[in-house]
């Protein structure tokens, strides 16, 4: 298990450095004079320019700049936001739980509906149920999610008044942030009704963000189940006289989920991209909204730091998914050992 983990980590190292290069280089390829751009001042006098140049470290040779940048990263310093003057790392981790919470709820939504839908579609292959499920998931896959979000807001928030329009919690509640996860914090606080309120706010954004993963998971589960159901060991399970429920739910599903777990891993990157759009629509105070704002307000250090942190988070999540995959599929773990 440990060897497996180290193996995976080794593969990540060059990618990590690649991303640092991208983040590092991005500032230096911006149009215009980087000093002017970063300082936000125009028409700099020569002395002021030289002063800022030295301050930013741009007067040093490029390889040294990169080296300094790397050592800064390893010390946990990813620069300071040009807008708020706070360390980028601080801002990121303050907003990260909101996105993480949304992402987890979205994936849960996608799994709870998508996996059973895929199983049913596989069992009833060719029937109208199967075709219906596949059509719906194809539609979900083809929608622009920002439009889908707006549509749901029009329907549920405006017309039916069922869900709140934006934010994580009604401003009537005062919940002290402990973990940053609203669902946990509301449970910890003694504000009555705040938990349900937080849940209420999570419904629509989770559905919107989870729609594409839902479609993908449903399709993948279906094709994985179809493949597994025709395997020899399923026939053996039937020959043992096991109940249909056990055959499908235990024997077949366990093997089918192997493929599906890989798919979930791929969905993490999709989720983060989707979060950018979803958080913008729902005014959700997370990483997505923050990075958009940073790009627009030309807060380049925030963008640079955000890019690196987001990419690293995705890599870590993918690693965790890989480990989970190893747990479900014993063959991967035992790859090095032979009987």
């Amino acid at each position: 298990m440990l060897r497996f983990l180290i193996n995976r980590l080794m593969l990540l190292v060059p990618v990590f450095f690649g991303v640092t290069l991208v983040a590092f280089g991005f500032i230096r390829v911006l149009p215009g004079d980087p000093v002017e751009v970063l300082a936000g001042e125009r028409g700099l006098s020569t002395e002021r320019h030289a002063e800022l140049l030295a301050q930013l470290g741009f007067d040093k040779p490029i390889w040294q700049q990169y080296f300094n940048y790397l050592s800064d990263i390893l010390h946990g310093d990813l620069g300071t936001s040009l807008i708020t003057n706070r360390p980028v790392v601080e801002e990121f981790f303050e907003l990260f739980p909101a996105t993480a919470e949304l992402g987890v709820c979205a994936i849960l939504f996608a799994l709870i509906i998508g996996v059973p839908a895929g199983i049913i579609a596989a069992i009833k292959r060719g029937s109208w149920i199967d075709q219906g499920i596949m059509s719906i998931s194809l539609t979900g896959y083809s929608m622009p999610i920002f439009w889908w979000g707006l549509l749901l807001i029009i329907l549920f928030s405006n017309t039916l008044n069922l869900t709140p329009v934006s934010g994580r919690l009604s401003f009537l509640f005062d919940v002290p942030p402990v973990t940053g996860f609203m669902l946990i914090d509301t449970l910890l606080s003694d504000e009555e009704g705040s938990f349900l309120n937080a849940l209420h706010h999570l419904v629509l954004p989770s559905i919107v963000l989870g729609t594409i993963p839902l479609a993908v998971i449903a399709r993948q589960t279906r094709s994985a189940m179809l493949e597994v159901l025709s395997e020899d060991y399923v026939r053996t399970a039937r020959a043992k006289g096991l109940s249909t429920f056990r055959i499908i739910g235990v024997h077949a599903l366990r093997n089918a989920m192997i493929t599906v777990v890989t798919v979930i891993g791929l969905q993490v990157a999709v989720l983060l991209a989707g979060a950018i759009l979803t958080e913008t629509i729902f005014g959700w105070p997370g990483i997505g909204k923050w990075i958009i704002f940073s790009v627009f307000s030309r807060d380049y250090f925030a963008v640079q730091g955000g890019l690196l942190l987001i990419a690293t988070s995705i890599m870590i999540v993918n690693l965790i998914v890989d480990l989970l995959y190893g747990l479900i599929n014993p063959r991967i773990l035992h790859q090095k050992s032979k009987s």
Binding site: G18, P31, S142, I154, I292, I310, I314
Partner: protein, 298 residues
């Protein structure tokens, strides 16, 4: 010489017939194809078809609902936006943007991706490692985010958005092509060609590439539809096509404030995106089923 070429052409036409047979089995794929052709025609003949100009403003008729609703007018089929521009005309013209974006993105990412993939697979060694690590790095950053950052660097606009998106799609093609190339390299016909003295270029493009085309075509179709979605997303965020260009995503962004009063201005451009992408995905599904030898039923 003649006897050599005749069988080749008939094999080609036989392949087409066989391909069409498998493709047409899926009615949804055919329906998608028909719709797609309609959209293409709509884009090509936009000036002729649309009742008004996309930028023509009818100030007196601003924020009119669709013609079938109360207060709507027949001449403005889908209603008008905040500046009195006919939504239907704008959507028709917007199809040009979306299709253009899809084409440019796929052409760019496919050609560069396939080329890099061929080289990586064929050459191996450090060239392959280098190319694959670069692709891994690009894939480590979520597509939309990378596109955003690239657009921030290049400046907003439809063309820059297309270039940025194309860069984010390139790794998929590289991986696909490299994997196929590696499989093909071991085959006897490649060894035979090499022994016969074929140059690397000839080997790559004439011998190996045609046999990798099936998954590349399927991925290309998928990228086409995703490109339309991503272009619309960038347009929505204000980083893609800039107003008053009637790109569908930009249309939604422009009218976002009207979401309460005039929801049709936001709904219909989205429906257009949905239908176009759905059609392409149906065609893509049909292509995959027709081209995938494992699924062929005898």
């Amino acid at each position: 010489m003649n006897t050599e070429t005749a069988p080749v052409t008939s094999i080609r036409s036989q392949q087409w017939k066989e391909f069409w047979f498998y493709f047409s089995v899926s009615k949804t794929a055919v329906a998608g194809l028909i719709f797609l052709i309609l959209v293409i025609l709509m884009a090509l003949f936009a000036d002729v078809i649309s009742p008004h100009g996309p930028a023509e403003q009818f100030r007196e008729y601003a924020k009119l609902p669709p013609s079938w609703m109360e207060g709507g007018q027949a001449q403005f089929f889908l209603g008008t936006d905040y500046a009195g521009r006919d939504m239907w005309s704008r959507i028709i013209h917007g199809s040009r943007m979306s299709l253009l974006a899809g084409c440019v993105v796929v052409v760019l990412s496919l050609s560069i991706g396939v080329l890099l993939g061929l080289i990586a697979g064929y050459r191996g060694g450090w060239i392959e490692t280098f190319i694959m690590r670069v692709m891994d790095t690009i894939m480590a950053v979520p597509g939309l985010l990378l596109a955003l950052v690239l657009v921030a660097v290049l400046g907003p606009g439809l063309l820059n958005a297309m270039i940025a998106i194309a860069i984010t799609y390139t790794p998929s093609f590289v991986r696909l092509t490299r994997a196929s190339t590696l499989t093909e390299l071991n085959r006897d016909y490649v060894t035979a060609s090499r022994v016969a003295g074929a140059s690397p270029t000839r080997l790559m493009f004439v011998s190996i590439l045609p046999n990798c085309m099936a998954p590349i075509i399927v991925q290309g179709t998928l990228s086409f539809s995703t490109a339309i979605l991503d272009t619309a997303a960038l347009g929505f965020l204000g980083m893609g096509a800039q107003a008053p260009i009637p790109e569908w995503g930009t249309l939604i962004a422009e009218n976002r404030d009207l979401i309460l009063n005039a929801p049709w201005t936001v709904t219909f451009p989205g429906v257009a995106i949905l239908l176009a992408v759905l059609a392409i995905n149906l065609v893509g599904d049909g292509l995959r089923d027709a081209l995938d030898p494992k699924l062929k039923r005898s």
